[in-house]
């Protein structure tokens, strides 16, 4: 064996090919089957895609690096389920390009934060976390409330999402920026289109407390309020799913 190596290490190309071959095996065995084995991702027929406003909010979450301190992955451990809710299923992040499972909980997990607090709480908390929780170490995001949300390119975002496999329809893409506006303006003529395209359960309301203005705060709160509510698959028992 060492004799063989004695010869191999005299060949730069041999060494190169050897490294590529040996290093490729692990990834091929562990990653490729995740695309082919059907049970990897559960079926959830009720799973819906993010609305344009929620997607914009998700992009703000990414932009600000929220994932550095908040996970979105509840593990299959008793204390986590009791603290945060039912453990996360693979299907729940099926449309997450990229996933935001996170790796660190400087703050709590957010996989099921949606609906747990009021919009007013989120706005106050994001504006200055220490107003609602004096010991918090989270940065204040006060500019979100002052910054108008950019919506003119949302149809391009939805198109790119469709290109990577999220089932946005032509209708959704064409109406992306109207839907973004309508979701935060329940009295506007655009509000009905949102529930038509994304389902009756979609949150349509003024998220940031400032009617008539579409701010980045609207988008981020709309996103946080939908976390854990894209499907109720995680709340069903094993028996339900089997039936």
């Amino acid at each position: 064996m060492f004799g063989l190596h004695y010869r191999l290490e005299r060949k730069a190309i041999g060494l190169t090919l050897g490294i590529i071959l040996v290093a490729s095996i692990g990834g091929l065995v562990e990653i490729a089957p995740l695309f082919t084995i059907h049970q990897t991702v559960e079926d959830a027929p009720d799973m819906r895609v993010y609305t344009p406003l929620e997607l914009a909010g998700r992009n703000i979450y990414i932009r600000e690096g929220c994932y550095a301190c908040h996970s979105q992955m509840i593990r299959t451990l008793r204390d986590e389920v009791e603290r945060y809710g039912p453990y996360s299923l693979a299907v729940e992040s099926k449309y997450d390009h990229p996933m935001l499972w996170g790796s660190k909980r400087t703050g709590p997990d957010l996989a099921r934060i949606g609906g747990k607090y009021s919009d007013e709480w989120h706005v106050a908390h994001l504006n200055n976390p220490r107003d609602v929780l004096p010991v918090s170490v989270m940065p204040a995001y006060s500019w979100l409330l002052r910054t108008t949300l950019r919506t003119d390119d949302l149809n391009a975002h939805l198109k790119a999402q469709r290109a990577v496999g999220v089932p946005y329809t032509d209708d959704m893409i064409a109406n992306a920026n109207k839907d973004a506006y309508g979701q935060a303006a329940p009295d506007s003529p655009y509000a009905d289109g949102v529930t038509q395209r994304y389902g009756k359960a979609t949150n349509v309301r003024v998220f940031d407390g400032k009617p008539g203005e579409l701010t980045e705060m609207d988008a981020l709160v709309a996103y946080l309020q939908v976390l854990g509510h894209l499907t109720d698959a995680a709340h069903k028992t094993v028996a339900d799913v089997a039936r």
Binding site: G27, Y87, D153
Partner: protein, 552 residues
């Protein structure tokens, strides 16, 4: 420094820079309503600065053929200086964000200064800015000496070094503007990723072209590691960064994979960025600089073979231990845990090989802070790899995951292993490169050593404590069978450890500043210049290449 370029190389350089300026212009126009436009302008300005620099030396006399009788070390020199600049910057940002967790309002009420955006600035600056520049610089040096061949040309090493730094600057400025893919340690967006790929291909080509002209029949073990580092990082980089941009004028892209597949790909990448950037590359450094500094041959050639192929094979399976108890199928988790445990064998073989190489030179370890840096690095490497295998066990991971224990583990590796082996190597190489008989102040090397060691130990102990306390508080039940502590309770318990961690980081930063000053003074102080030796062998007293070649 680029005066060594021949006429033809100066012309090629201008051509490349013009192409780059054009790219900058296109991005600047296409992305004028987007942060991408600012990056286009930045690329354009960088290219223009390069054009002016090349034009300023364009009509200088061409270098003579006598340059070919010496190794080409100008890019290495520049790379070492860049590495130290990134080190001080990256450590400063790291300590700054550590204080943000103590005093969260130090953000000037601005997005760019908040924890979430600055955290990747820290990680990219230290890992890729400091670590990457040190790897590129030392790899040029080691490759030439162990092959007894000059770099193939004088332009491509500069292209790789400066192109790589452009990538790092795009990355860091991007995060502050909110441009990020959110994939940890792979945050830069699509255009920066494509640029890095181009740079990386040229980098490996330099390796192959130099090796093709080598006068040593065997490729020295340090080069195996450097080659594995370049090759595997390329594979990981390509697969993990597959994405579709929103438009040509937008910095934003959406990753090709989603959910569980994306998570597995990301941690396959993430863990092997640790393996092939922070381990393989720096083991390459270790296999050259420990023996030359100690004046001892590598302890065991066979151990180095076993550890090399063990690391190359096992590491690529280990990434899934980042996803224990998650929605990732359990069979993948189990494979990850199993291979993480097996990894201990090649890891400890490497650490032992380094430490046993010091046998017969322990008196030097006592007297020479530079060698002591490398010895401590090998010890930290051994400790960290043991801890890594331990944390990969599913039941241990259930406690440690999501807590500061992981942060402590990473810093044991990054501060204790990566930074220490780099500082040891830099202190070895700087007097040789600038033809000095020693560092400006050996005393300051000693000072740096103790600051670095104290800082690393304080940091790691603080995070071990906070991590384990956090993990235990989250899972503690009271007598009535309900959770005993709220999340906020655990946050309050972290406060003293966050202060201790920030102090540890500060000590390490002070050491880094002392080191940068010492290196700068060594370069500036010209009183002790050694005569240029005819063969440009680094240290003839070490017995030339015979010491470095693995035994039969």
């Amino acid at each position: 420094m680029i005066g060594q370029l021949t006429k033809a190389e100066r012309q090629y350089a201008l051509l490349i820079l013009l192409g780059l300026a054009l790219c900058g212009l296109i991005f600047g126009i296409a992305g004028k309503d987007d942060p991408l436009g600012i990056h286009g302008a930045l690329i354009g300005v960088a290219a223009l600065a390069g054009i002016f620099k090349v034009i300023s030396v364009y009509y200088d006399p061409e270098p003579g053929d006598e340059r070919l009788t010496r190794y080409y070390d100008d890019p290495t020199k520049f790379g070492i200086v860049l590495a130290m600049i990134w080190a001080v910057f990256g450590l400063f940002i790291g300590d700054w964000v550590a204080w943000l967790l103590v005093k969260p309002d130090f953000t000037f009420n601005a997005g760019w200064a908040s924890f979430g955006r600055l955290r990747p600035v820290h990680t990219t600056s230290v890992l890729f800015g400091f670590g990457g520049n040190a790897l590129i610089a030392t790899s040029y040096y080691v490759l030439q000496r162990t092959s007894r061949a000059r770099l193939p040309d004088q332009l491509s090493p500069w292209f790789v070094l400066l192109g790589y730094n452009l990538f790092c600057v795009l990355a860091v400025t991007g995060y502050m503007m909110g441009i990020t893919q959110s994939k940890e340690y792979a945050e830069p967006e699509w255009y920066a990723d494509i640029w890095l790929l181009v740079v990386w291909v040229v980098y490996f080509a330099i390796y192959l072209r130099t090796l093709a002209r080598r006068k040593e029949p065997h490729i020295y073990v340090a080069n195996w590691y450097y080659m594995a580092f370049i090759l595997v990082i390329a594979i990981l980089h390509i697969v993990n960064n597959l994405a579709v941009p929103v438009s040509f004028g937008s910095a934003k892209s959406y990753s090709l994979f989603s959910g569980v597949q994306d998570a597995m790909t990301e941690w396959w990448y993430g863990h092997n960025a640790v393996a092939f950037f922070l381990t393989a590359g720096f083991l390459g450094m270790m296999y050259y600089f420990v023996p030359v500094r100690a004046g001892r041959p590598i302890y065991s050639y066979r151990m180095s073979i076993i550890s090399f192929w063990g690391i190359t094979f096992f590491y690529m399976w280990a990434g899934s231990h980042h996803l224990h108890y998650t929605a990732l199928p359990q069979w993948v988790q189990t494979l990850g845990m199993t291979f993480s445990l097996m990894l201990l064998i090649p890891s400890w073989a490497s650490a032992a090989n380094a430490l046993l190489t010091l046998n017969g030179a322990w008196d030097k370890v006592r007297d020479d802070a530079t060698l002591r840096f490398m010895m401590v690095a090998a010890v930290f490497y051994g400790i960290t790899t043991f801890e890594g295998s331990f944390l990969a066990i599913r039941s241990v991971n259930s406690l440690s995951h999501y807590t500061d224990w992981t942060v402590g583990h990473v810093h044991a590796g990054a501060l204790g292993w990566v930074a220490m082996i780099t500082f040891g190597s830099i202190y070895t190489i700087v007097p040789w490169l600038w033809k000095r008989d020693r560092m400006y102040s050996p005393r300051l090397v000693e000072v740096h050593f103790w600051f670095a060691l104290a800082g690393a130990v304080v940091y790691v102990f603080a995070m071990w404590n906070s991590g384990i306390i956090q993990g235990l508080m989250w899972r503690t039940y009271n007598e009535s069978g309900t959770l005993a502590y709220s999340f906020v309770d655990s946050l309050i318990a972290m406060h003293p450890y966050y202060i201790a961690r920030a102090i540890g980081g500060l000590l390490f930063l002070i050491g880094g500043i002392v080191g940068a000053y010492n290196i700068w003074m060594t370069i500036k102080t010209e009183s002790k210049i050694l005569p240029q030796s005819a063969v440009d062998a680094p240290e003839p007293a070490l017995g030339g290449e015979a010491v470095l070649q693995p035994g039969e």
